[in-house]
């Protein structure tokens, strides 16, 4: 086919097909790993793992007013449950119309919920669903206060994945921002929120 340029796409796919000329046999993936947690103390495990990575854990919704009383300027998603804000006397900034990055940078904290939480790794997953808002909201303010209902907690990571919609933007958070780049010491606090506070609510909290 003289004169007709082959696209990079077609050329790469053709190269890869040639590379597989030996016709490797089909692969059966062994999935012998745990997909469901059998431990009974999932909440205790979660608290242990969160604290191990320097998140601060508070138990019960009553902790919230005291926490928020330290916050002068608070960002919230538009659908934040009203009872989370009961008695809040500071400056409230709802994300509607969307707050600019610079405006978010001026606020002291953000209050959100979450989608699902993995106890085994102390991981909070946000999927931009109810009470979470868009990604910038939980990123720019220096302090993230996250309300976790005990019925959102699963034991293992595979259990969490089945509850997520891949089309949603997903943010997995395990402790506050940290770096191990200097002599491999973990130091909390680089670009993400330097303080992560978890308020555990619901039965068993």
């Amino acid at each position: 086919m003289v004169g007709k340029a082959v696209s990079a796409r077609d050329e790469i796919l053709a190269r890869l097909r040639t590379a597989l000329a030996d016709n490797p046999p089909p692969v059966q993936v062994p999935r012998g790993y745990r997909r469901v947690d059998d431990r009974s103390d999932v909440i205790e495990t979660l608290v242990d793992r969160l604290e191990d990575y320097r998140a601060v854990v508070h138990r019960g919704i009553d902790a919230l007013p005291r926490l928020l009383s330290e916050v002068d300027r608070l960002a919230v998603p538009i659908d934040v449950p009203a009872d989370w804000l009961a008695g809040y006397a500071g400056e409230l900034h709802r994300d509607a119309p969307p707050l600019s990055a610079a405006a978010l940078d001026d606020l002291d904290a953000v209050l959100t919920g979450c989608a699902v939480v993995v106890a085994d790794t102390g991981t909070i997953i946000l999927d931009a669903g109810p009470a979470q808002g868009r990604r910038a909201l939980t990123l720019v303010p220096d302090r993230h206060i996250c309300v976790v209902r005990t019925d959102q907690v699963v034991g293992l990571l595979p259990e969490a994945l089945t509850q997520l919609d891949p089309r949603a933007p997903l943010t997995w958070i395990s402790g506050p921002s940290a770096t191990s780049d200097i002599e491999l010491n973990r130091v909390e606090g680089v670009h993400g929120p330097r303080r992560l506070e978890v308020v555990l609510i619901g039965s068993g909290a």
């Binding site: 590379a19 931009a128 940290a178």
Partner: protein, 481 residues
């Protein structure tokens, strides 16, 4: 009918300018560097061991990870087409690059089209491999590394020396010195406390994040059935780059695919524990095309071959494409610990670099790298996707220019090493002074090496010493540590 298109080797920063032993000399002689490396690799080895030990099904996860990647390699063309279709349907634009130069041209063109003369960057091996920063600079576009270690390396006019911790060769005092010299807004009384250094980096990059219009990232995983990209990080610089700018360009090697979103349940367990030695890294971001009103609205993905088709073409070397860049193999490698990352010349140092770089470029261009190993097997033991690195090393040594008898020897060794059982048995026999690895004798230098092997190995050891473990194997010794 078109003739079949041959797999092609790649370009970029994947070639050793000097033979490994020559390149390693300065590092081996630098006591400060060796102390930094020793301290860092020892720390991270201990962290990894602790969090791997607490996972009862670790071996089952490794088996699954290894098999999923083998399946990806077998079905790579079809999975790439599936990924392209899913990502495109979700609003991303997919580009294809045959080699490093083409990938750089695409990123430059996209950045210009966005009207930007600077980009913020998330640490990415692929963009280092294609030498993107240099290409952007040549096009008049400033590239700002935002990962703390990458920032240290960039400010120090240096190159990374480790996959995960690019500045592993610096200690805190040296980092403070670099910041004071090159970071205009660093506080005058900056201390060398890691927290203070991190704070300085935060302040330095904050404005840049808030105003950046274009970000460039890599991806740890690309999911074929959903079109999702995944970036695993610690500091939040990744989230900043992936969330705030209007345009996001992700440079992704074609081998990064996973067939399904569910497969992440394996890799998101294997990667953090193997990499930073944490149960989970602080932040993982996943995005699928464009989400209206949330994050970048102009999303591009550049799929890069740059030699990967050549790696795929070799059935023995192919598993090198399974690598998830965790760097566990670097941290356990006695050669890496002494030589450091720069000696490997390529962006891929350590055991994985010793097998990946020569395959990406063709062995003739990196002929010394397959020898940058003692074949002790520690890398294979820690690899979360079970790449048999020693086997591939010996296989590649066969391809480097050698006399015929030597090639035959290495074929035998390669066969022995292809089975962990055969290799372990051979090492045991060698310690007893018999078997296929035959007699060894202690050299006058005190180093124990194989000097004379029975035929056909004898032809090889005549010209080359094969380092041999002492009365216990490195693996046995290692397990006791």
């Amino acid at each position: 009918m078109n003739p079949p298109v041959a797999p092609a080797t790649g370009g970029g920063r994947i070639r050793t300018p000097l033979p490994f032993p020559t390149a390693a000399k300065p590092a081996v002689a630098d006591t400060q560097l060796r102390a930094n490396l020793h301290r860092a690799t020892r720390t991270i080895r201990a962290k990894r061991a602790r969090v791997v030990d607490e996972v009862p099904d670790w071996e089952a996860l490794r088996d699954a990870g290894s098999a999923i990647k083998a399946d990806v390699q077998r079905r790579l063309p079809e999975l790439l087409e599936q990924f392209e279709a899913s990502a495109t349907a979700a609003g991303a634009t997919v580009h294809w690059a045959r080699d490093a130069a083409e990938a750089c041209r695409i990123v430059v063109a996209l950045t210009r089209a966005a009207g930007a003369d600077e980009v913020v960057k998330v640490k990415s091996m692929a963009t280092q491999e294609i030498e993107l920063n240099e290409a952007l600079e040549a096009a008049g576009i400033a590239a700002y590394e935002t990962d703390l270690a990458e920032l240290i390396v960039q400010l120090g006019d240096d190159t990374p020396s480790h996959i995960l911790v690019p500045a592993i060769h610096y200690n805190r005092a040296q980092i403070r010195e670099i910041f004071q010299r090159r970071m205009a807004d660093a506080p005058a009384d900056l201390s060398d406390e890691p927290a203070a250094l991190a704070e300085a980096a935060r302040a330095h990059l904050r404005r840049r994040f808030l105003s950046a219009r274009v970000a460039v990232s890599g991806a740890n995983f690309a999911v074929a059935d959903t079109g999702t990209l995944v970036v695993v990080e610690s500091e939040g610089n990744g989230r900043m780059c992936l969330t705030l700018p209007e345009t996001l360009i992700s440079v992704v090697g074609v081998e990064k695919l996973l067939p399904t979103f569910t497969d992440l349940e394996v890799f998101l367990q294997l990667l953090p524990r193997s990499s930073t030695g944490e149960r989970m890294n602080p932040y993982t971001s996943m995005w699928t095309g464009v989400t209206p009103g949330d994050g970048p609205q102009d999303v591009h993905i550049v799929l890069v071959d740059n030699g990967r088709s050549a790696v795929l073409a070799d059935p023995v070397g192919r598993p090198a494409l399974s690598c998830i860049r965790c760097s566990a193999c670097l941290n356990v490698c006695p050669v890496y610990e002494r030589a450091g990352g720069h000696a490997y010349g390529s962006v891929y140092p350590g055991p994985i670099g010793a097998i990946l770089s020569p395959q990406l470029t063709g062995v003739a261009d990196n002929a010394s790298l397959p020898y940058a190993s003692t074949l002790c097997g520690a890398c294979y033991d820690v690899c979360p996707v079970k790449i048999n690195i020693p086997e591939i090393l010996v296989h590649l040594r066969q391809q480097a220019p050698h006399p015929p008898a030597e090639r035959a020897t290495m074929r035998v060794l390669s066969w022995v090493m292809r089975s962990p059982r055969r290799w372990a048995a051979a090492l045991r026999l060698a310690r007893a002074g018999a078997g296929p690895l035959g007699a060894y004798r202690e050299r006058t230098t005190g180093a124990r090496t194989l000097r004379r092997l029975p035929w056909p190995a004898s032809a090889w050891t005549r010209s080359r010493d094969l380092p041999l473990p002492a009365s216990q194997t490195f693996r046995e010794w290692w397990e006791k540590q």
